[in-house]
Each structure stands twice: as C-alpha cells, then as structure tokens.
Symmetry: C2
Subunit: 455 residues, 2 copies
C-alpha cells in the first residue's frame, strides 16, 4: 500500500480507516499484549506513535525491530488520547523493511556531540537536530528562488570552472585533466590554459544584468584557504543578485528586503524546526530574529564607523584607524552593542577593495557596502560597480591588472553601459543566522575543509 | 525617477501620466519634429515604442543614440494607435546613459550566426533569441524548485569536490591546490588525498533519502571528456531526485510527471519566448511538446526493445544485439518512429550498468531505466538502487570496487535500509527540448568545452 508521509498523517483532519506509514524507529516500548513504536520518516520533526497489538507474526517481527530499523506499519489513524499529538496509528500489520544491528548502530544514545556526528555525516540527518537542519537548509534555498521569482529576477548559472579571478586575489583551486605531477604545459591541458574553480559569479552575472536587467546566481563557490576555523570551508554556496539602473542605495534596499523576507519565510514555514534550535541550540535565537525584522537596518558610512570605534571606551585587539578593514570584533561591536540591529557600513577606502567597485567623488572611497548582523558579522558584501569605462580602465592600470584578460568585461562598458550594483550573500551564513548554529560544518551536508574529504 | 520595467509597462491596465523606462535601444527612426525609439530592457521579448518630440536638448541627445545605447525616457504611457502593441510612451525627456560606438558595436546587423554569437557570449543576451533563451533557462530552473517544493521534496546540496567516483568510470577533472607540475604527493595537497569534480550527487543524495525521505539535488556536474559534439560540454547542471520506500515504477512515474509539469509550466509562463523558438528555430516545437503532454509514456523492457529493433526493416549503423547499450539511432527510432512519444526503456543488462543498480530476479538485468524523448534521445537515466547489503557487496566484489572507499554508503544498507530509487535529468537537455535548440553550447551562459575557456 502507498505510504502516507508522517507529516501528512499528523496534519490529517479526520480519522482514517486504513493508512500505511513507513519510516525509521526512534523508540520501541513493549508491554503485555502490545508495543509502542515511535516512527520518523524525515518529513517533519515529530514522530508518530503506533500501538501494535501482539499477534504471533507481529511478536516475531518486533524481535527484529530496534532503534534505527526501517518498518512499515499499516492500521487505523485514530485520535490520540495522549498529550502532544493529535493522531496515532492503531497498527494491524508491521513489516520490517531493514534491520539495524543494535550492537553497532551509532545513534543509540540520546545525545551525541556535534564533533562525533560530523564523523558520521551520512547518518546524522537521522537525528532530530540534523534532520531539522537539513529541512531548514532546503526551505531556505527554495525560499531564495521563490523570492527572486516573485520579483522577476532571472536565475543565471554562471560558470564554475573559470579562467579569470574575480577578486584579483589568489587562493583558488586549480582544475586540470592532466595527471598529478605532469610536466605538460597548460596548452596541453583540457581547456588549453590554466583553469580554476570560481570564487564568485559576479563578473559573468554583470553581463546578464546589462542585458536582462535584474538577475541572480545561486551556486557553489570555492576558496583554497588553509583555515581551520568554525567559519571557513573550502566549498560553500553563494547568492549573488545583480541589479541594473540601480545604485548602492538600491543595493542596500534589496539586501535588507531579502534578509527580512527569508527570516519571515522560515518563521512562517519551519516553525517546528526553528523551535528546536531556539530551545536546544541558541536560547537567544527568537529575539535575535525578531529584532532584525523590527526596524530598518542602520546605514553608516565607513568614515563615521571609524569615528565611533575610535571614540568608544571599549578596547579592541586590533587598533582602529581609517583605511583598515573592519575586524570581527569591530563588526560585532557596531551591530551588537552600539546599534543593536543590523548595520550597513558603506563607502569603504578604495585601497582595501577590488577594481570593479565604483569610485566615489572623493577619489578615496568606493561605493561598497557590508551588511553586519548580530553573531554572524558580515552576512552580505556588495557594491555599486564602476560603469564608467575611463574610470574602470584607470583603476585596472593602477592595480596592475591585464586588460586583455577582461576584454569582454570592458566591452560591457563600451556598449550601452549603465549603473548597476550587486552583492554576495553567503548562503551558509544566512542558515547559521536562522538556526543559531555557530559552526559552518554543521549547516552543510558534507563539509569540505583542509585535510578532510570524507563521504 | 524609479524605472518601470518594460514588461510591466506593456502589461499596464490604464494609461499613466508619468513613467520612466530604461533600456537598450533596438532601433531609432528620425522624422521631422520627432523620433521613434524602440527600447528593450530584457524583462520581456517585446520592445516598447517611444515617440519623442524634438526639443533642442532631445535633438542633441538623439545624436548620441544608436543601436545598443542605454537610455532613459520619461513621459506619458498612452494607448498605441499602431498594431501589435497596446501601449507606447510619449517621451518628454530622454537621457543617454551609455553610448554604443556604432562603428564597432557587434550587434548592428539583424541576423547573426549562432557560431558568431558564441564568440560574443557576453553580448548575445542582448539579442532577441538569446534573451528569450536565458529567460526560459531561468524560468525552467525556478520551475524545477517550485515542482519539488510543492511535492515536499528537500533540496540537498551534495558536494562538488569529491574523493569518490560515483559512476566507477574515469573522465573526471582533478582539483588541487598544488602548483602545476608539483611533484608533492597527494598527502600534501589541500584535502590530503586526490580530489575530483563530481560527476553525480547520487551517492550523497541517497544518504539523505534514507533519512529525510524524498530529496533532490540540482547543481553543476562535470565530465573531462574530450568530445567536441553539439551534445557535450565539460560543465553542466543536473537534477537528481531520490525517493525512498519507492521502486522503479515509482521512479518512472516521477520522471514522467516532472517532464509534463515542466513543459506545461513553460507553455503557460513563457508563451512569448516559446513562440520565438517555435517560429524561428524549430517549426515542429509546439507539436513535439503537445505530443509529449498528450499520452502516457510508453514503458518497454530492454529485452522487448531489442526484439523490436531486430525485427524492424530499418537498417542501423550499429548492429543490434542483446547486451549492447542503445545508440542514439536506436533511441530515436523507438521514440520518434515506432512509438511516436516518449519511451521508458527499463531492465537493462547488468553488464552495462554501474554497481549500485538493483539486481532483478533473473540475475541478468538490473532495475535501470532511461527515458527517451523525440529529438533529444536520453533525457533521464535512473534506477532503483540496490538496498540489500549482501547483494550490493557481492556486486562490488564482482566489479572489483574497494569497499573501504564506500564504508559510509554501505552503512546506509546496514542500518534501516529501504527500497529507494532516483534518476538524473540533464537540465540542459530539458532546456533543449523546450526550445528546440540543437547545440548545447547555445543553451548555456558561458559553455565550457575542450580548449575553450573564454569569459
């Protein structure tokens, strides 16, 4: 018989004469004449309780049922006399689909450390915490697409393998079809020249923004940084909208609107899973999220931010001076202590920013912005792009970039250029924000970090 | 003034006293006292016509306006006396945002070859055909997520960098942070062992199916195949659903439902763009799509397919015999000539299929299926997975696979295993189906092929 998902069974509006549920056993309690079996199938956090009366067949089957086994139970869906759930199943038949050896099954005990669960990343989605995590990850990703679809943005798949380095910085993985240690020149390699994994789809997305209008990318990006911190992984997903006939202020509007939309969506659609994190992972989760929704984000020019940081009595590890990049301690001070809400810092010194950001009239700062949020720090980094060909070329010369490599990018400023802006949002950081989880390894199915490539 | 997207202007329900439209000039026609300017902003295929009366300022501005320039026009939205469009703009002000040098702008002439347009892939979305293409690509991708979200499937981001080879076949790109030609051993590389770009997220997705239920991936996959054909690229996007407590028949149901949903969605939501392809690219596009929607797909065991191919009078280049993989000519004969609709061929010889497919009782075939569609050939390839630990291990031994490499995969069969199935759909092939475009390079923003890594 076709299974009913447990989520749908628990949301039933009337009893059912016959229903089949299938899932993994979370617990079993034997009594005289009957047993309780709590079943979860991943469709929602809750388990459904089945009461199965003992028959000789069922008694035999139950000897093979332990935590982690997969079973099918067919019976009646009836109102539950117990607290906490409305429906339960009066089981008439129980089939063991797959046993789980109770001696070796690693998820026997109730609580496990996140470190241990990382070592069995293939099984951790069978726990409450990680099934909730990956349902929320899915809901958040789907909500990103829903948001942009509703706003008539076009989704662009920018290339993963690239010959250009968007940020002008190193730390890229090489991609090759040559054997390890091969002395053949790049001309002999698959693409006939050196190729890398992308760090950003921005430059490609700009081409589409300057033809289709409002666009976005949502795909994997890579950093070959040898950092072993709770905030760094080698492979992560990034969302990069790009909007045309738009400036930095429009860009900040979009980021704020999107963050608020995504948080609202998660609170409305993943309430049960969010509650788990608010209860067990971060007691401050709900107030943090509600606070972000409540007020407009603060918008603060970089120069004013530096003044504030200099004047405060708080002592920082990194001394504050104009021209520096903000450190996490500064970012957290601004949004957690000073303004107690998300803060856009904008108009950064040109010396610490890439070539494509639009030069301001002061010739000292560029139209860049970072959105800082409590506990996460930088959630969004973006800029208005330099649309003026002469200014862009001068800046590339100043930074020693080879214009030949960017011929197509420069073309877009030669033919019908237009003001445009965009940003990158680290998808995992957004997920950390809405779950309260502090280690990026715990919001990804199979995280990739230095010296770690299991699964 | 805030711009109104041209799509929204053309869909207006009443005249507007003031409107600003911004976009790229498709054509300009000067008359005595006024000029016609046709503007496109990528939001839809149609241009909007603006009539601007000459004032000294506007006359000066118009001297700088050529095809490809970006301009802003502010004026009144009024009913159009002309045929074909309901609204036009009576321009009162015209601002040149970015000029386009008429001597060098490559999109002057009306028709260009696809080959030429590939060489300016950064500008081709400014043409009617490619703006339609990339709007449809976006709509199709968003529809994939919408489809699965509506069916309560969870979206899983399976890893792009991997240490395992899903298909058990070569042709993978290597990923490394070592310098080209480095003689250092893999232990010194970023992950401490050899790493590659994924060819499929299936094995990872199975882990999530066996915990969350119905899941899917939608991400980039890679092949380092040195094939220069209209059907091969090195980087493409794949959709891989995986369903639990399900068999091959459920898998075929899902594939058919999804294909029909996606086609219906495109016909309903991208009518104007689809029409362009039906008119200029493939006259048979609409009948092909309508035919796919009309009837249930044919389901044909491989052994019967071989019989049919053997009995037909048609001569094939590749001789037909049981045990062979079907060639494109065979696939096309079955769906285009014999059955005249999509055909699922299933239960393939085990000798031509990977280790993870479920063994049938005959011990000669596995529960694999391919969905063949007119003009495209294989659109979907899938299977029921081998959920029985002993059968799976025997098969891996038979094929000489190292079980140590798959310890986590085997774990999923040790603890609460369950029947499950899934398939991979090449996203670009689906897009080729709904546009009628025959070269995969023309359905991707910046295609990656041997010796080609521009943009």
């Amino acid at each position: 018989m076709k299974r009913t998902k447990i989520k749908d069974a628990l949301n039933a509006t009337a009893p059912m004469d016959e229903i089949t549920i299938k899932g993994w056993v979370r617990s079993k309690r034997d009594n005289k004449g009957f047993s309780f079996v709590a079943l979860n199938d991943g469709s929602c956090l809750s388990t459904i309780q089945a009461i199965v009366d003992h028959t000789p067949e069922i008694e035999e089957a139950l000897t093979r049922v332990g935590t982690g086994a997969s079973v099918a139970i067919t019976g009646e869906l009836v109102e539950s006399p117990g607290k906490g759930q409305r429906w339960e199943v009066r089981g008439k038949a129980l089939e063991v689909i797959g046993e789980a050896d109770q001696e070796t099954f690693p998820l026997q005990k109730k609580r496990h450390s996140d470190e241990f669960l990382r070592s069995i990343a293939h099984l951790r989605p069978r726990t409450n915490k990680y099934s909730a995590m990956f349902r929320m990850r899915s809901a958040l990703a789907q909500a990103v697409h829903k948001y942009f679809a509703e706003k008539d943005f076009f989704y662009i798949h920018t290339p993963i393998i690239t010959g250009s380095d968007c940020e002008g910085a190193g730390e890229m993985f090489r991609v090759t079809s040559l054997e390890a240690g091969s002395q053949l020149p790049p001309e002999e390699d698959f693409f006939g020249k050196p190729s890398q994994l992308t760090v950003s789809g921005q430059l490609s997305a700009e081409m589409f923004s300057l033809s289709l209008g409002d666009v976005y990318t949502f795909g994997p990006t890579f950093r070959a940084e040898n950092s072993n911190t709770p905030r760094h992984v080698a492979e992560f997903w990034m969302i990069e909208p790009e909007i045309v006939f738009s400036d930095l202020s429009d860009d900040m509007d979009l980021g704020e609107d999107m963050i608020k939309y995504l948080i609202t969506h998660m609170l409305d659609n993943c309430a049960e899973d969010v509650e788990l994190f608010a209860k067990w992972v971060d007691k401050g989760l709900m107030p943090t999220l509600e606070n972000i929704l409540k007020e407009p984000f603060k918008r603060l020019p970089y120069t004013e931010a530096i003044d504030i940081l200099k004047k405060t009595k708080k002592e920082f590890e990194y001394p504050v001076e104009w021209g520096m990049d903000l450190q996490t301690e500064h970012e957290r001070f601004l949004c957690e202590e000073k303004f107690k809400r998300p803060v856009y810092v904008y108009d950064y010194p040109k010396t610490i920013k890439p070539f494509y950001m639009r030069m301001n009239d002061d010739d000292k700062t560029v139209a860049a912005m970072d959105c800082l949020v409590p506990r996460i720090g930088e959630l969004i980094g973006g800029s208005q792009r330099e649309e003026r060909l002469d200014v862009l070329v001068a800046r590339m010369d100043e930074m020693g970039l080879d214009k030949e490599d960017y011929w197509w990018y420069l073309d877009s400023r030669k033919y019908g250029t237009a003001p445009h802006a965009g940003f990158g949002m680290g998808f995992e950081r957004m997920l950390m924000l809405v779950t309260g989880v502090s280690n990026i390894r715990d919001v990804m199915p199979f995280p990739r970090t230095p010296k770690s490539l299991d699964f």
